[in-house]
Amino acid sequence: MTEQLILIPGRSAKQGVGLNKGKLKDEYKKVTTTLEVSFEDAARMGLETGDHVKISNHIGETNVTVKALREGKIPEGYAFIPYGPPSSCLFDGETCATGMPASKGMTIDIEFIKKGEKKKTTLPPRSAAG
């Protein structure tokens, strides 16, 4: 099933750190392929953190991993992705005579690809936690 969201790419501290380590390295690639969506949107679309989705618009498409944010962090209907090659795939070259492409607020289609691997969380024994 394909749904639509408004995409807001932007900076993040993790993206900045990954950039310093190297744009061709895995850390940067992982950060820039993480799509943050609201908890409500994720629930409606049946998505969980770690799921793989395809996002696309009339310019291009790219595959990313979903991260569902807790309530109020991002408005329903919107998604955030750190700047990087995946977000650039979706930017239009039209600048409306300013030189600046519309890099925030583009409509994207979001389509489920496959479930993410469940992370195993091992809690420390109570005695160790004091």
């Binding site: 900076r11 070259g93 600048t95 005579a97």
Partner: protein, 456 residues
């Protein structure tokens, strides 16, 4: 210089006091670096933020060729000759980037493009370029960050996320420092955040305004109208996402502060409205001077993007998107800005300095710059998608870590760099000076009328 390590080994250690971090526009110049001079690495960066630490501590001297043509290692001079030949023979050469290098290197770039009858543009065009256009329209109610630290009792961030993009902005300049007229730090300030997302920055806010995406202009215009005595509309929440009572309270606080400042980010310049948004914000700051002292400033991203604006403005009269094809500088965003010249497929040669359009530009622009129709030349300190795609690729040393020079902080204050250790790679200044000389010689051979022009 030397010291004894924990395991009693003598290490060749050097301490660099008051080093400047050039990762972001804050240009924090109070960092203490500990350098292992044998391994040529920075081992500690005291007082740096998370981004600054990763900037210094991840810097290594890479084992890679200084210069490559079509992927093959060549002597530096051969690469410079090839780059000069490409640029001078091109019909529409462009130069783009410059925000991560020193002003002394940036000033070599303008004559290169003048001799090539080309187009020079900085990363400003995809950053605060719209704000640069707005400055020309409505002016800039400006200040320095020192003034903000000592005087500002009302601090607002609009469309930016400094907690993640400029982590020390709060502590060094605007929110928590104890200033001359704000001796109690944050207790003496009202901090307001306006954004479409509840970011980490929102955590420091006394008032958080979650504006509807794409409705910044409407919100700014309501506040401007309020300055002229017009009542905030009852349905303001419906229009822009913030209710009337909150806006009235905000407006009272703005009017009644002693010194107000608004820092704004790319939430304004990259969304619908672009330069109209920036212009509305600066006009609001100007309007508020009817009541109190109020200023506004863009929060700039790269370490020396402000320097690039200053150098290109000082040499051509315009800050970015400047074309020399008629022998004199012409400024026209949308026509001479890099995204446009690439998207339209006009540029047939591109000299990219210290930036990475192949990773960050819109897809149509990337498709052109990486195609056979455009010869790509890259001068950069690190391997990037752009340097990997380039026909001529030159690796240079890193400013602020390996080379000195001048950078401009986001408030247009120049700062001298204190490098930590040498690099086997040449500096941007060295490479661009040689390239400038080579291009100038070729231009004179072609009897280009402006090739004898003197630049300061």
């Amino acid at each position: 210089m030397s010291a004894v390590s924990k395991d009693n080994k003598i290490v060749n250690e050097k301490i660099v006091e008051n080093a400047t971090c050039t990762f972001c526009g804050c240009c924090c110049d109070d960092i203490t670096l500990t350098v292992d001079m044998d391994k040529k690495v920075v081992t500690k960066a005291k007082d740096a933020c998370v981004l600054g630490k990763s900037w210094f501590l991840n810097h290594v001297i890479e084992d890679k060729p200084i210069a490559r043509i079509a992927g093959k290692e060549v002597p530096l001079d051969d690469a410079i000759d090839e780059a000069a030949k490409i640029l001078i023979e091109a019909k529409f050469p462009i130069l783009y980037g410059m925000s991560d290098t020193i002003c002394e290197a940036q000033r070599q770039c303008v004559p290169i493009m003048d001799d090539c009858l080309g187009t020079i543009d900085t990363t400003t065009s995809v950053c605060h370029g719209p704000s640069g256009m707005a400055f020309q329209g409505v002016g800039e109610p400006s200040m320095t960050l020192g003034e903000v630290k000592n005087r500002a009792d009302f601090v607002m961030y609009w469309g930016g996320n400094p907690a993640e993009a400029h982590p020390r902005h709060f502590a060094r300049y605007a929110v928590t420092p104890e200033g001359m007229f704000t001796p109690n730090g944050k207790d003496d300030r009202t901090v307001v955040i306006c954004d479409v997302r509840h970011t980490k920055t929102a955590g420091v806010a006394d008032i958080f305004l979650q504006v509807k995406p794409g409705k910044d202009f409407e919100l700014l215009w309501m506040l401007r109208a309020a300055c002229k005595g017009v009542e905030i509309p009852e349905n303001s929440k419906e229009i822009c996402g913030v209710d009337k009572e909150t806006l009235e309270d905000l407006f009272e606080k703005m009017k009644n502060c002693n010194y107000g400042v608004i820092f704004f980010g790319m939430g304004l310049t990259m969304s619908r409205g672009r330069h109209f948004n920036s212009g509305a914000l600066m006009a609001l700051a100007t309007d508020l001077n009817e009541f109190t002292h109020f200023v506004a400033k863009p929060a700039r991203g790269h370490g020396n993007v402000t320097g690039a604006d200053n150098v290109v403005s000082w040499q051509t009269g315009y800050p970015f998107g400047v074309n020399f094809s008629r022998g004199h500088p012409r400024f026209n965003p949308g026509e001479f800005t890099t995204v446009d010249t690439l998207t339209r497929g006009e540029a047939d040669a591109a000299l990219i300095i210290a930036s990475d359009p192949v990773a960050n530009f819109p897809k149509p622009a990337i498709d052109h710059i990486t195609s056979d129709k455009c010869k790509l030349i890259s001068i950069d300190t690190k391997n990037t998608p752009t340097s990997e795609a380039a026909h001529v690729s030159i690796q240079t040393s890193t400013y602020g870590i390996n080379t000195g020079g001048t950078v401009y902080r986001m408030d247009d204050v120049p700062i001298s760099l204190r490098p930590a250790f040498d690099s086997p790679f040449p500096s941007d200044l060295e490479v661009l000076t040689k390239l400038r000389e080579k291009v100038n010689k070729l231009a004179k051979k072609l009897n280009r009328p402006y090739a004898t022009k003197k630049y300061i």
